[in-house]
């Protein structure tokens, strides 16, 4: 048996030597400093392979975790769009090959998987993301690798990356029209209820600025943590504040609890209507039609929109996934995003990111929501705003429409009252 102390020193000595070796290697591996003036080599050249008769695209949605229930629907409609495009001859004659990754409802995983799709799978573009946190996490990855992300969900605006196309609404296409509608209806006071994260907080900042400029009084502003289900306190505050309407930016499960409590407290859509911006057809079943019938929503698409393109979309979706599956705004925006990418690539006659971006301005698609047009400056798309009423059939019916597509304005530069918001 070797003496105990000797080998202990052995470990120490070995660790010292290996640490020193690694330290030397680490220091010799230093690259460019940001302040040195020398140009850092840009990220590796794109490895997208377009030589064969297929081209890869990535779908990155949360298939597990808390967001899976919402993001799975987006994943399904992306699959439908890909099938349609492939049946129609593909993009520039190449069939789409789908690589799916699970974002696991965690921003860090979204960033990791985005990197994997771009550098290991060499996809030409990525479609997906839902929460603002997931988009913010992916943004630096797409910019560093100079790749493309198509993001299909309405969001809080104040962003425009050259590497992202936003096919959901920005604030001036959803929240501002909803406020215009309320003002038109003679609303003089509002109560704001939201989940505690970036979208509700930013939305409420905008609503406050709008209200101040338009003489609407904000009588209360309450936040609940994501996933919170005890709303008796907040509903009591809403009731005693006696506002003309409630503006609801709650997300997910919280809506179920909120509307149950709202009804229990004896309030109804006639008395004090609630305008929601995160409740689509998919969520109504979960909340229960009885609890929410007659309440208002603000989106850019409903399953009930009457157009040939929408009839075809709804029919194809139900044929593939079942009669009981509704279609919703984020699903439609995702479906549209894949078709828009195809149109951009075919206009550019190239899959290269720089060519696609250069060709993007003015690209149109006859989407289920109506014709949409890409704005080449801010990478958003022009969309028509729709205020809807939730019917007893569990679907949403258009109550009011902006009539024509609204040009996207993510920084609200065209609105005087929004000065100083961004």
């Amino acid at each position: 048996m070797r003496p105990r102390s000797l080998s202990r020193h052995g470990v120490t000595r070995l660790s010292t030597v290996s640490l020193a070796a690694l330290a030397v290697v680490a220091l010799s591996a230093c690259g460019a400093r940001v302040d040195s003036g020398e140009a850092a080599p840009t990220a590796a050249e794109s490895c997208v392979d377009t030589s064969g008769d297929t081209v890869k695209v990535g779908f990155l949605n949360s298939l597990s975790g808390t967001m899976a229930i919402s993001e799975q629907t987006v994943h399904d409609s992306l699959q439908l769009a890909a099938e349609e495009i492939n049946a129609d001859g593909g993009v520039l004659g190449k069939q789409l090959e789908i690589v799916s990754e699970d974002g696991q409802s965690e921003p860090t995983v979204f960033a990791e998987k985005a990197g994997k799709l771009i550098t290991s799978d060499c996809v030409a573009a990525v479609f997906g993301g839902w929460t603002s946190a997931s988009r913010k996490a992916m943004l630096p990855v797409f910019e560093a690798q100079d790749s493309l992300l198509f993001y299909p969900v309405q969001y809080e605006g104040l962003e425009s990356s050259p590497n992202i196309f936003y096919t959901g609404a920005t604030t001036n296409q959803q929240i501002v029209p909803a406020l215009d509608y309320l003002a038109e209806q003679g609303t003089e006071s509002l109560f704001l209820v939201g989940s505690d994260y970036v979208f509700p907080r930013t939305a409420n900042k905008i609503i406050n600025a709008y209200a101040e400029a338009h003489g609407i009084e904000i009588v209360g502003e309450e936040y609940a943590p994501l996933g919170h289900t005890d709303f008796s306190t907040i509903v009591n505050k809403v009731k005693s504040a006696d506002a003309d309407a409630v503006f609801n930016t709650l997300n997910g499960d919280s809506n179920v609890a909120f509307f149950k409590e709202y009804n229990n407290a004896g309030m109804s859509a006639d008395e004090m209507p609630v305008v929601s911006v995160s409740i689509a057809e998919e969520e109504i079943g979960g909340i229960g039609v009885d609890n929410i019938e007659g309440q208002l929503t603000a989106w850019n698409y409903y399953q009930t929109v009457e157009s040939p393109a929408n009839e075809a979309f709804v029919e194809a979706f139900k044929a593939k996934y079942g009669e009981d599956r509704p279609t919703s705004d984020p699903m439609e925006a995702a479906y549209t995003s894949l078709h828009l990418w195809k149109a951009m690539v075919e206009k550019a006659e190239s899959f290269a990111v720089a060519d696609v971006v250069a060709a993007a301005d003015g690209v149109t698609f006859d989407a289920p929501e109506g014709q949409v047009v890409v704005n080449g400056d801010n990478h958003h798309i022009a969309k028509t705003a729709l205020i809807g009423t939730i019917g007893e059939d569990g679907l949403i019916h258009t109550e009011w429409s902006s009539g024509e597509p609204i040009e996207p304005d993510p920084y609200l530069e065209g609105y005087d009252w929004a000065d100083g918001l961004s």
Binding site: A26, V34, A43, E106, P107, T108, E112, A137
Partner: protein, 355 residues
């Protein structure tokens, strides 16, 4: 003596050989892995740093800490705040504060402008919190499940605090979009390689420290306190002090892991520091073998690697696999995978003695 034959030998020789082998593998990894995979490995190494600390506190000291995400998060957020301020330039305001905040840098961010202060705070803040909490808890002889629940509550409170203070912490988005690490461009592949080597060297350093502590008088005391706290007290030792030291060391290791995680992964958000990731740290340690030197590190790296590769093969399948693995290990291999060899050896000996 070859490395392989040394690995086959029991005891310290094997530890020495395994350590050398691990160092050699880490040194060679960049030659076989693509830059993307190397970044992932560097991330796993950061998570493994937390595991080293848990191995010491839980494996040796019996302190079931379900809240290491707090210390990981403190290190990560402090580093992220420094990188955000450095990106904004002298006197500048980080981008997210212009969007969601008042456009002013709050006073408690200011000290982090200095790189030296940032490094000191990354080490001192978690150490001070762990010392204060540990002292308050251990001198009152709170232990076992009560300590576990307390540490988990701390992790839950920490995430709620981060989410609520969106103007100054980035809320659920967390902090991300860093351009440089102490002046080195993060988009430059050479600098990413440097970060990997720093992570590898730090991890090896931590393993060496953990080994020194475990084999020292302190390590013996720690095990004694774990197994028979009262007897240790009757012999004149202060069990609370021993536990506080182990807890503080584990906290600092988690904080360093968090601080290196930030430039490597490019983001830190409440989802990385809450209750779920805190339990995630523990799973790697339990699977690897909590009371061994290299078990926690290898277990942590193996679980991270499995999470990535399994979810790439079967999107949405990882969570079931993780659950099944944890059940199997706890039910059949309570000592973790590191105990497989021991179990096999005992079985062989038992068979031989029967024959």
């Amino acid at each position: 003596m070859t490395v392989l034959s040394a690995l086959a030998r029991p005891g310290r020789t094997r530890t020495l050989a395994a350590y050398g082998l691990a160092a050699a593998l880490l040194l060679l990894a960049p030659t076989v892995l693509s830059p993307f995979r190397l970044d992932l490995l560097a991330k796993f190494l950061c998570l493994a740093m937390v595991a080293v600390g848990i191995g010491l506190a839980w494996g040796r000291g019996g302190l079931l800490t379900l809240g290491q995400g707090v210390y990981f998060g403190l290190g990560g957020y402090l580093m992220a705040m420094h990188l955000k301020l450095a990106d904004a330039g002298p006197g500048g305001v980080p981008d997210f504060m212009l969007l969601y905040g008042t456009g002013q840098v709050p006073g408690w961010w200011e000290p982090l402008r200095s790189p030296i202060a940032a490094i000191l705070l990354i080490l001192l803040v978690p150490a001070a919190l762990a010392a204060a909490l540990g002292w308050a808890v251990f001198t009152r002889r709170v232990r076992g499940a009560y300590f576990a629940i307390l540490s988990q509550a701390l992790a839950a409170a920490f995430t709620i605090l981060l989410i609520g203070q969106q103007q100054t912490t980035g809320g659920t988005n967390g902090l991300n979009g860093f351009r440089a690490f102490f002046g080195y461009d993060l988009a430059d592949p050479a600098n990413r390689l440097m970060l990997y080597f720093i992570a590898a060297a730090v991890l090896l350093g931590m393993v060496a420290v953990a080994h020194q502590l475990a084999t020292s008088r302190f390590g013996e005391l720690l095990v004694a306190v774990r197994d028979q706290e009262d007897r240790g007290r009757f012999l004149g030792y202060d069990p609370a002090l021993v536990k506080v030291v182990a807890y503080v060391v584990a906290a600092v290791m988690a904080a360093i892991g968090g601080a290196l995680f930030v430039p490597i992964v490019g983001i830190i958000s409440p989802a990385d520091v809450g209750v779920v990731p805190s339990i995630g740290f523990l799973i790697g340690v339990a699977i690897g073998g909590r009371a061994t030197l290299l078990g926690p590190v290898l277990g942590s790296i193996a679980v991270s690697w499995a999470q990535t590769s399994i979810s790439e093969q079967f999107p949405s399948g990882w969570i079931y696999f993780q659950g099944a693995l944890f059940i199997l290990v706890v039910a059949f291999l309570p000592g973790g995978l590191a105990s497989v060899a021991g179990v096999a050896r005992r079985r062989r000996t038992a068979e031989r003695s029967r024959a």
